[in-house]
Symmetry: C2
Subunit: 333 residues, 2 copies
DNA sequence: TTGTAAAATGTAAACGATTACAGAAAAGCA
DNA sequence: TGCTTTTCTGTAATCGTTTACATTTTACAA
């Protein structure tokens, strides 16, 4: 590999490695003439310091690890990519390296991390009761969590309750009273919080909460489709669906259409995320924009703050925005 | 960070660091009793070897660098994610680290790489005349290139000429004779090769190549839309469009519809990539599936072969597959 | 010219591991 | 028992840097 070392440079320049090291690190105490000469030699030899050797002694790796949750689909998910864009921008701009690691369900996290040297960690959407969070809560290594809110760590997250509230309120103002809440996983914190917002909005509008109108489809399009079809078959009455992602919203629309009803005339549908499918589906889907890119960006910035020791637990709650498209309309009964 | 070192273990066990090192590395020459005792102590102390120190001496980093081209949009692109999935699967399974780096237009590549120690590199879609390729062609560091075909390096790529041929042939067999070729960038090798396939198919079918039917829209949806509208306004005659990605195909469909024509009745449209938009667009788009995930997977496997010194320039050409959906039909005039 | 302070450079230990070589302990054998 | 062979363990150099401290060189004043 890169086999020219500081010693080669030193020898060629007729100085000690210490001096070379000093010019590399811009130490002030080195004669201008020497500095120029050494710089020239470095250039000629094509020398670059050995990252690991340097890290070994300075204990700075200039590496950030991005830790992803173990779900297989995660790497395909659009929100991940948008977040990644935000993150990487900041990290690369600072000339840090970015190392990615997806957790596996089996592997003990400590084993993975203690051998994965880095200056900081960004942990994305950890599972509930995830080992990693516990690990980072104890070890005092700089880290920032995205989409989870551990008490003692820095994090950035979407205000899901507010989002649920905004969406529901919007539908209510369109005249809808029987709004079906279509969650992801029942235990997913995102879903739980959005449901809370949904219920709050209902309450404020004096609409009674109906348990039959809360169902879960694991963020999966096909599941959503199946469930909604069943509901319609069983004559469950609702005039609007609030789906916890756009994929499920698409499934809902398909289901409605296959039951010979129409969106939005008969049933209004709202998605979540503002992903590509919402923009391009045959009926453009009304949805709630999540600022993923900004989340990534903020997480990275926050991490650098944590690494500088400025803070260890600044916690940032972001808002998204309702994007109204074609899948929602006034309730007409 | 992880501050328990091999010395701590050695001291606690009352042996030398050499012995501890031997048990860590499963050297056979260590008494079973000692091994067990040391293993126990390692466990208790939560010791893990320092990655960088180890790398420094063994010259193995267990790290692969994924090098991305400098286009900003790249990180958003769906094909990147699919590829990434294929890659990362293999790399993580082998317990290697995956480091991602996007090139910047300004930064000199050598500077970036010589300080970025790793065992191997995967270079994705390098720009024509890219510095990196030249660099890797000279330095003899294990690497594999995706979507480019440098003579002296290992690579994996799609057979774009064949793809162009297959698509064009399909359209011809539907009765289309005036097929508009909508390329990405004029200089992009992908576009060039697909165009070659297109021309070959025309030739074999005795259809004269018409220069006016070859245009470029930079892989951009809006540009495609604008250009097609213009063509239609100027009464350019064509019954089918072969677009070099699905995004442009979507733009084409929009243009056609806005000119009060219909897809596929009046004009057939074929996209490329088989991305989400092709599956979900209001008219499901006929397209050419690119096996991105497989490409990533093969690239990673190939890289490991190269690293083992088995080969340095195995070159793999993959085929995709035509996916017929709703945007194409028989030519009816 | 000499003395002193400041600036430049060198020496050597350290970072946390591995490993060739040497030395000690154990085992095998007569 | 003593000698040889095998197995186990320790010593110390090494990887490529940085940096505290020591030393040399330079600059300047008297």
């Amino acid at each position: 590999m890169n086999s020219v070392t500081i010693k080669d440079v030193a020898k060629k320049a007729g100085v000690s490695t210490a001096t070379v090291s000093r010019v590399i690190n811009n130490s002030p105490n080195v004669a201008e003439k020497t500095r120029q000469r050494i710089l020239q030699i470095i250039e000629n030899l094509g020398y670059t310091p050995h990252y690991y050797a340097k890290a070994l002694i300075t204990k700075k790796t200039y590496t950030i690890v991005l830790v992803l949750p173990p779900q297989k689909e995660f790497l395909y998910a659009e929100y991940f990519h948008r977040m990644f864009k935000g993150l990487s921008d900041i990290i690369w701009r600072k000339n840090f390296n970015l190392l990615i690691r997806q957790l596996t369900p089996d592997k003990d996290c400590e084993e993975v991390f203690s051998s994965l040297l880095a200056d900081g960690y960004i942990i994305v959407a950890p599972l509930r009761n995830s080992e990693i969070i516990k690990y980072f809560e104890t070890v005092n290594i700089p880290c920032v969590v995205i989409n989870a809110r551990p008490k003692n760590l820095a994090w950035v997250d979407l205000d899901n309750k507010k989002a649920g509230y905004v969406i529901t309120n919007y539908l209510v103002r369109l005249g809808h009273r029987r709004i079906l809440f279509l969650g992801g996983y029942k235990e997913s914190q995102n879903t739980v919080d959005r449901l809370a917002g949904y219920r709050l909005a209902l309450k404020e509008n004096k609409i009674k909460f109906d348990e039959n109108l809360t169902i879960y489809a694991n963020y999966d399009r096909e599941t959503a489709k199946r469930i909604i079809k069943e509901k319609l078959l069983h004559k469950e009455r609702f005039s609007a669906v609030f789906a916890c992602n756009d994929l499920m919203a698409a499934g809902v629309i398909e289901a409605v259409q296959e039951m010979h009803l129409s969106v939005p005339t008969d049933i209004s549908v709202v998605g979540f995320d503002d992903s590509e499918i919402a923009k391009n589906f045959e009926i453009k889907i009304t949805t709630y924009f999540q600022p993923f890119e900004e989340m990534g960006k903020i997480a990275a910035e926050l991490l650098f703050e944590v690494m500088r020791g400025k803070t260890t637990r600044r916690q940032v709650l972001l808002s998204g925005e309702l994007v109204i498209r074609e899948s929602t309309a006034r309730c007409n009964y």
